[in-house]
Amino acid sequence: MLYREAGLFKTTYTADQALFPIPLDRYFVLAVLAVAFLVVPLVANEYWLQAVLIPFLVFSMAALGLNLLTGYAGQISLGTGGFMAVGAYMTYKIATGFPDLPIVVAFLLSGLCAAAVGVLFGIPSLRIKGFYLAVATLAAQFFLSWMFNKVPWFYNYSPSGTVTAPPRTLLGITVTGPEASAEVRYLLALTLVAVLALAAKNLVRGRVGRGWMAIRDMDIAAEIIGFRPYRTKLLAFAVSSFYCGVAGAMSLFLWLGSAETEAFSINVSFQVLFMVIIGGLGSILGSFLGAAFITLVPVFLTNAPQLVGLSMPVDLQKHIELMIFGGLIVFFLIVEPHGLARLWQIAKEKLRRWPFPY
């Protein structure tokens, strides 16, 4: 009763083709956006913004990118960290090379650079499939992080080898660098994520997205009905790397402030892959749920012992955290291999019949 698709009378094609055809969905998304834009910056304190919300947004963006590639186009990639590094380092180069360029343009340009790199490393996908491809994409991960470590041009020959986000303004407000307030950085990250998530949602329901899904389900059959595999797969790599690149730029400029290649190590690749799998393969919503889960669980585990008044040595706590994290992942995979997005779908199903389940 609370939620239903039936009984909607559409009189125009525009209404029929809307991004969220069901009014309840539309109101819900609008409400979430309103809360995120208006209420959260007022309520949340510095710690929450910096330790929870901004990383959540950064990782949602990366998970979104990987979900387009792995969930929609069916190509497993473990190179996410490398593509994020491309985004971060290229934004740094662009922002320091052209100080007058608006920072958002730098973000998007570096996303394009990451897309180009993604296409390059996506070429083997035309010939290699499945786990062979997953391992092959690790080549991207290791090569890129080696390159950003060893070629001084990328970090402007700074002796420490770290890149630091320079202060830049947008519409007269400082948005990056040490001076920028957490609220401003949060809002900029939120805007980017919201816009690009809507774009992704739009992309996957159109011709491009259908091509990806056809390739995912069976690439030979897709080829026979007229999707060109090399174009479709490379486009998936390009779009996915674009999102990952922007995520990398966000993590350097809006979250960490300064970083080394360590911030984009293979662990990040695995983390993002976890988000996509736990959230739900082939679901935009799932990317967000997965990112929320993977960023929140460690925060929760770190704070939980203090909440119940338990104190233990730091390294022991780290190990136990690891154990619980690993255990939780296995648990979730067993309970719901289709991810959190599937749980949401089941909940909607229940709401539809409530209060008269049969």
């Binding site: 391992v135 690790l138 060893k150 799998i277 022991l316 190990h319 992942i329």
Partner: protein, 311 residues
């Protein structure tokens, strides 16, 4: 110009002029390659029998080595510690089968892969919670002294490693070819359904194969642990074994061995001769690029089963 020379033909000239040094580098690479093969072998065993791409193999190496060292530190003699560690690995295999694999039967390969990454986190935390996380020395009494063979210096330890690796491959080959359990394992690897229908208990087979992989991990752990100490970074050799795997093919035991040797020699030679020209530390990615180049010509690896797709 100097740079171009160092990047292209310079190292080749060097190789030609100092063949002894090249032989030393190559031999060193071969022996490292044996160690990679040991880790890759565990992957192949599990992939063949259950189709699970077991990312946790690296951490199993760490876990077994940690258990062995931990037991020895508590005053258990070497042989007893070895036996106990084998028992621990078998119990671990049973627990993994019961808790993780059985509920995940028939899921997508990627889900199983992710669950083994979860297992990686868990085992890492578990091992270090029990045995502590500081670097430990492991000494099971393998002699380590430099040996001069025709002007080329070799460590006896490396020779032992190679011998043990070779023995293990032979033992595994006999186990797979001659014993009833080995035959059952091959049947399962060939076709799950058919194996089930002739009465092979799939669950037992999985426990057996994970136990065998655990023992292979123990051998690898002993070798790596005595060489570089037992510590967390031991689990990272899984990342070294992956290019070996795709080079040799996921389903081939000889592939794991030969792939390991190729990768070992390739990365050592590249690091020593071409590394300095580009700033060093190319070992990390060179193996992957090498494997990638092979894959472009043979997508199923050198010895992998031919991938046949039907629509």
């Amino acid at each position: 110009m100097e740079m171009l020379r160092a990047l292209t033909y310079g190292p080749l000239v060097e190789m030609w002029e100092y063949p002894i040094f090249l032989a030393e580098v190559a031999l060193n690479g071969l022996l490292t390659g044996v160690m990679y093969s040991l880790v890759a072998l565990g992957f192949v065993l599990i992939f063949k029998a259950s189709g699970v791409f077991n990312f946790a193999q690296g951490v199993m190496v760490l876990f077994s080595a940690l258990s062995l060292v931990g037991l020895m530190e508590h005053g258990v003699p070497v042989w007893a510690a070895l036996v106990l560690t084998v028992v621990i690995m078998v119990v671990l295999a049973m627990v993994i089968e019961r808790v993780m694999l059985r509920p995940l039967v028939n899921q997508d390969p990627i889900i199983l892969f992710m669950s083994t990454i979860g297992l990686t986190f868990f085992l890492e935390g578990f091992g270090e919670t029990i045995w502590g996380s500081n670097v430990k020395r492991l000494d099971v009494g393998i002699p380590d002294a430099p040996l001069d063979i025709g002007g080329v210096l070799v460590s006896t330890f490396d020779l032992w490693a190679a011998a043990i690796g070779a023995t293990m491959v032979v033992v595994l080959a006999i186990f797979f070819q001659k014993t009833p359990i080995g035959r059952a394992l091959r049947a399962v690897a060939d076709d799950h359904q058919a194996a089930l229908s002739v009465g092979i208990p799939l669950r037992t087979i999985w426990v057996v194969v994970w136990s065998v992989a655990g023992m292979v991990a123990l051998v690898a752990g002993i070798m790596w642990g005595s060489k570089s100490g037992v510590q967390f970074s031991l689990s990272l050799i899984a990342l070294k074994a992956l290019p070996v795997l795709i080079l040799g093919g996921f389903t081939s035991v000889p592939g794991a061995i030969i792939g390991g040797l190729i990768i070992g020699v390739g990365e050592k030679v590249a690091e020593v001769y071409w590394g300095p020209a580009v700033g060093g530390a190319i070992e990390n990615w060179f193996a992957y690029v090498l494997a990638l180049l092979f894959l472009l010509f043979r997508p199923q690896g050198l010895f992998g089963e031919r991938i046949i797709e039907r629509v």
